[in-house]
Symmetry: C2
Subunit: 187 residues, 2 copies
């Protein structure tokens, strides 16, 4: 089973090392991890961003599954590049798995960064007057339920780990889930 390893990990200063660790974990579980930075792109070229897109899309097309890192990124929600990729793989009918290293629910996280109040009817609203989704889920319902229906429930730790960007415990739990499915398939 080939698994596309999506996440804002690619923006870390030690992105290459994190990718190596993730691929090594996949190897230990008998599955194959495809990490976006393994695409060779000349970042100085004028069309670098398009080359990255094409490389990532080709990698996704070659993969049987995705493991998305949905740890909140620059705000209360997951990284949009990663979320796009989760949607893409769901649209292609592939196995969708994901984890987040922040176990808080979405509405709590919004309240950390924005002035949230209760409107008439009990709805939570932010300072722009927009409703804050409040179903007790860890992020937007489209991501959470696609996992429930097209893969497995979002994996989260009981407590936020000390290094939210480098702790791979929940990632490894996703790999184990994928490996189980791969074995189930070949039985």
């Amino acid at each position: 089973m080939k698994i596309y390893l999506a996440g804002p990990d690619v923006f870390l200063p030690d992105a290459i090392e994190i990718g190596r660790r993730k691929v090594a974990i996949c190897d230990r579980h008998g599955v194959s991890g495809l990490y976006p930075l393994d695409n060779t792109v000349d970042l100085a070229a004028a069309d670098a961003s398009l080359a990255i897109f094409k490389g990532n899309e080709a990698m996704m097309d070659a993969a049987d599954a995705i493991i998305a890192n949905l740890t909140p990124f620059r705000g209360p929600s997951a990284d949009t590049g990663t979320v796009y990729e989760l949607g893409y793989m769901a649209g292609r009918g592939r196995l969708c798995l994901a984890y987040s290293n922040d176990p808080a629910i979405y509405a709590e996280r919004v309240a950390r960064s924005f002035a949230v109040t209760k409107a008439g009817g009990g709805n939570l609203i932010d300072d722009d007057g927009l409703t804050v989704e409040n179903f007790g889920l860890p992020d937007n319902l489209m991501m959470i339920h696609t996992l429930d229906l097209h893969g497995a429930r979002l994996v989260t730790p009981r407590q936020r780990p000390a290094d939210i960007w480098r702790d791979l415990t929940s990632f490894e739990a996703c790999v184990a889930l994928a490996a189980d499915r791969a074995t189930g398939k070949s039985d």
Copy 2:
């Protein structure tokens, strides 16, 4: 042509009215707009969020195209629910169109809300030490280039409109693009 109308519009206090306006614009251009709130869901039910997901997924499956509102939402990037849906429709090979009412580029928007500095090598990094994507694009490259390759370039106004959540000029430009494709198809 049936078009799924994705966006954080559903979180506005006047979400139903915005949906009516969007569907009316589609009608005027001879295409059919499918607005998520047209799904009838009992919000008090225990499985309300799952019912919303299933309704939206069925609507997307029935649509030939998506017009996504990628106006930044609670941070420098688009709403993750909308981004998921854009990815899903791209994965299914449907026509992908989108607009944003904020014409600023992503790196500028990040600098409005976070302490951004230049690291060695000229990379921009945020206060967590993570690289800020800086290709001169309005949002994450996965969204921007999927539009370029699987639809049309992101539509943005020259200037941010006074009411960023209710100005439908760029939305209508997307509808016109979709209508052109629909006509092209039937020729």
